[in-house]
Assembly symmetry: C2
Homo-oligomer: 189 residues x 2
DNA sequence: GAATTCATGTAACTTGTTACATGATTTA
DNA sequence: TAAATCATGTAACAAGTTACATGAATTC
């Protein structure tokens, strides 16, 4: 139920093509929600059939014609209804491929796990560095496109991303240290 | 690709029925990976057809017969192969219903958002309290069922859950405070 | 000369969710 | 007396992933 609503929400800023939506998603909510282009095209079709979107064709030479979608009044209503229905935290389903492998860590060698933790630390730090760029983008983009009212909320999420990233790096570093101790302890036995 | 492997991994501890697996998942990896019972039965069927699991029937009166699954040698091999292939962090897909609504926060009233942040704080704190119980369960369960070698890895994940929960509560509290300031600022305009 | 960008999608497959069906036993 | 526990699933639908198809223009 969320991807279609994310699409509606983004299209409320400005009408766009499916392709535009994909690049916008990659540059905005990608840390929160990801989508494949094929999925976006499918959802656009569904939303138009339901009357929550309308499209107009902009002819092009050399390239496929653009199909530009805009949100209808009904679409706005549906979006706002969804927006107000926040999910319960405790019943939220999660899927964490990395953590799942840690759970079965006893079946991996300590060396392999140490290697993966180091990789995790490196990649999380890269992600944090990426968030610096996101900070700049939020600042400049909201200014030049008259979206100052969005800035506050986007910055909240940015801070959340930084805080989570930092705590995960800290956790992984401490875990790697503990793993070294654990490994020593097992060798003595 | 992960649920079937989680199932294989759990069945390697001890053979179980689909129903048992569901309760075990709810009590162990639920913070990492969730699954519906119908999904588990489907995956068990697929895994058995592939020869990664075998089952034997334990007849019962009054209730449907138990179908107890165990992992074959091939199943172990497949599981260990999956276990070694850690995912890249930067290409990981996320879906966060709560954060997605914050992203569109400008379309909500500040009062509504404040209310939802307070609810978030309350529920995250409940989750943290739940993790205290998990800590006890890990301690007692690993001891009495000879799974001491798992304890270290499970505790790593427990610490990760606590650290993340705490940082999210802190973030939400700071966000709620900032929202109050932001609201005042907007009223003056 | 190879990869990326722009622009549309379809098809097949895999996962995840919700609802339905059955039915005795135990606990609140 | 209503709900939860045990125990099996099926069916239908929704959502996510991967591969395929087309093809010019631009950048490396």
């Amino acid at each position: 139920m969320s991807l279609p609503n994310a699409i509606l929400g983004l299209l409320m800023y400005t009408p766009m093509t499916g392709y535009d939506l994909k690049t916008m998603i990659d540059r905005s909510i990608n840390f929160i929600w990801t989508a494949h282009l094929s999925q976006i095209y499918r959802e656009l079709g569904v939303l138009e059939e339901k009357g929550l979107l309308t499209s107009r064709i902009e002819p092009q030479e050399d390239r496929p014609d653009k199909k530009i979608y805009s949100v209808t009044e009904e679409g706005e209503k549906a979006f706002l209804q969804w927006l107000g229905k926040f999910p319960a935290i405790l019943s939220t389903s999660t899927r964490d491929e990395f953590a799942l492998r840690i759970f079965f860590g006893s079946k991996l060698s300590d060396e392999e796990l140490a290697f993966q933790l180091e990789r995790f630390i490196r990649e999380k730090k890269e992600e944090l560095a990426l968030l610096d760029t996101v900070a700049e983008i939020i600042l400049t983009q909201t200014e030049k496109s008259g979206m100052e009212s969005e800035r506050f909320y986007w910055n909240l999420l940015l801070k959340r991303g930084v805080a989570m990233g930092q705590v995960l790096v800290k956790w992984a570093e401490e875990s790697a240290a503990e793993l070294r101790e654990h490994h020593k302890g097992r060798k003595k036995e």
